[in-house]
């Protein structure tokens, strides 16, 4: 027990090999994915939904709070980013940041209203609020494009001052741009989870009553976790809008929130990287299976049931357990 540094919660403990493999696979994806029958935009989509699922899991897996309306913040990020590009300024970073803030501010306001609810009630209220945004996107045709979605904007080259990155036509450059955003967001979440603040979230997940009687104002901490989660969710949404040059109202529907939960649980909500794996499986299957059959959702549903029954800790949880033995 002569630990050199403070002990980190087990689930977060660095398995450097795993983490290195994940980053290498992500860094090299544009080069190996085509060999495996994929294409670059599919890899970008995995990153986008991986970030979304990991953001959701910041709340679900590490704070123990289930939100069933997180697609709303994804949508706010997407529409926010699109609207900035369309009406405000042709700047990709500005659009992303404002989209993120839109999601974060909405999360902060709604979060304040719902942090006192627990369990199913929390999930229900998050669905209800999520649907409000869905209907706004659907009905406010003049601004959001309604059922057709928001079109008429394009991601812009990123000006670094000394150089300009062409993420518009060069899909590989865009992939790396998204990977950069992903890395920052995921890095911040990992950093937070390993801090004293992050440990209070684990404490709340493990035993809310005990946490409260250690002097932690539970609602305040859940609210903070909710806001962090919404911010990065909105970033994922913004990146999705850039990827497609399009913001889709169906991405806000509560069924999409369910998809995000499925990704997190399937990949392993007790492991930091699990949701990325879940998202990868989901997105890739969606791509392949939906081209073969219209019933691809029942296929995913079936897979989900099998995973939950066979690997209650998700794919990555299962793999990591095996390694420990």
């Amino acid at each position: 027990m002569s630990a050199v540094s403070l002990p980190w919660p087990k689930q977060l403990s660095h398995r450097p090999l795993w983490v290195a493999v994940i980053w290498l696979a992500l860094l090299a994806a544009p080069y190996w994915m085509p060999l495996a029958g994929g294409y670059t935009a599919l890899g970008t989509r995995v990153l986008v939904f991986g970030l979304a699922a990991m953001s959701l899991n910041f709340l679900l897996g590490f704070t123990g709070v289930l939100s069933f309306g997180h697609a709303a913040y994804f949508g706010l990020g997407a529409y926010g980013t699109g609207l900035v590009l369309k009406f405000l300024a042709p700047s990709t970073p500005l659009a992303l940041v404002l989209g993120m803030l839109l999601g974060g501010v909405a999360g902060a306001l709604l979060g304040a209203l719902i942090v006192r609810r627990r369990g199913v009630y929390f999930a229900m209220v998050t669905i209800a609020f999520g649907q409000v945004f869905y209907y706004i996107a659907f009905r406010w045709h003049s601004v959001t494009g309604g059922d057709d979605g928001l079109r008429g904007f394009h991601r812009q080259p990123v000006d670094l001052g000394f150089a300009t990155i062409d993420i518009v036509n060069n899909t590989i450059a865009f992939y790396y741009f998204v990977l950069g955003c992903f890395a920052v967001a995921v890095g911040v979440m990992a950093f937070l989870l390993r801090s004293p603040f992050g440990r209070t979230l684990l404490a709340i997940r493990e035993n809310e009553r005990r946490a409260r009687y250690l002097g932690i104002p539970i609602e305040q901490h859940i609210w903070l976790a909710f806001v962090v989660s919404c911010l990065f969710m909105a970033l994922a949404g913004g990146l999705d809008a850039l990827l497609n040059n399009f913001a889709d109202p169906h991405e806000i529907h509560y069924s999409r929130s369910g998809d995000l939960v499925i990704m997190a649980v399937m990949g392993g909500m007790r492991s930091f990287w699990g949701p990325l794996l879940g998202a990868a499986i989901f997105v890739v299957l969606e791509d392949y299976v939906s081209s073969l059959t219209q019933n691809w959702m029942s296929f995913i549903g079936l897979l989900f049931v099998v995973v939950v029954l066979l690997f209650p800790r998700g794919f990555l949880g299962f793999l990591q357990q095996e390694r420990k033995v």
Binding site: M1, P196, L214, G215
Partner: protein, 249 residues
């Protein structure tokens, strides 16, 4: 002015009167035992003291300050720490992590995204200190959920101690323990009381423990104070014998 002063508190759950007109004053450094038959209202009384419920009537003052309506976490920061009748820990985290979280929160770092090297060293020292005090040093790396019942109870007490409390509320710390474990916990509580001069309120069913530790005893029965006095006075009290000790024997 007493350290802990409770004036005529009552608590009703719908039509059930769990506590009525309960008053009590605990002096600094005192070890007060609360005894009484099942359902007497002992845990409910703790829930009022610690802010789990707001009393239906009456007031609670801690160290001269009215805390009747103060939120639970604020009472903790004033120095009131508690343990529960049914062990409440963070089962998937290690003993060390359980204590570390308490230490960090008590040191005012609950919102810190980052700690400097020297702060971490100080906190680590504090964790080791608490673990040693509770006799859990050699089990520090194990998830609490995997420990024996007695060690889980000890871990919960360790977490409460890590908060550097000025008043410790222990709800049946020896519940479900064997003789050896009961002895260990009793010794720990005695050390906290005698060496660390900690003020302790203890709910306890095991009369050996009560009579060994308590300075004074309060007897609750059917939601009211039946008697209060030194262990000798309580042992000789006929009403108590009739209502409680008699039944238990």
């Amino acid at each position: 002015m007493s350290f802990l002063r409770v004036d005529s508190v009552a608590k009703t759950f719908g039509s059930l009167i769990a506590l009525r007109d309960v008053s009590l004053a605990v002096e600094p450094g005192e070890l007060r035992a609360i005894i009484g038959p099942n359902g007497a209202g002992k845990t409910t009384f703790f829930n009022l003291l610690s802010g789990f419920f707001v009393p239906s009537a009456g007031t609670i003052a801690f160290d001269g300050r009215d805390v009747t309506r103060l939120p639970a976490h604020r009472r903790v920061s004033l120095g009131m720490a508690r343990t529960f009748q049914v062990t409440e820990v963070f089962p998937e985290l290690t003993v060390r992590e359980n204590v570390l979280i308490a230490v960090e929160v008590a040191a005012g770092h609950r919102l810190s995204p980052w700690l400097g090297r020297s702060v971490r060293a100080t906190l680590r020292g504090r964790v080791d200190e608490v673990l040693a005090l509770a006799g859990l040093g050699h089990k520090a790396g194990r998830p609490v959920g995997e420990l024996a019942h007695g060690d889980q109870r000890a871990a919960e007490i360790a977490m409460a101690l890590a908060l550097r409390p000025r008043l410790l509320l222990l709800d049946e710390p020896t519940a479900g323990m064997g003789d050896q474990e009961t002895y260990e916990i009793t010794r720990l509580i005695r050390r906290l009381h005698q060496d660390a001069k900690l003020t302790i309120v203890l709910i306890e069913h095991d009369m050996r423990v009560v009579f060994h530790l308590a300075d004074r005893i309060t007897v609750l029965d059917q939601g009211r104070v039946l008697a209060e006095g030194t262990p000798t006075e309580i042992a000789a009290n006929e009403a108590v014998q009739a209502a409680y000790l008699g039944k238990a024997a």
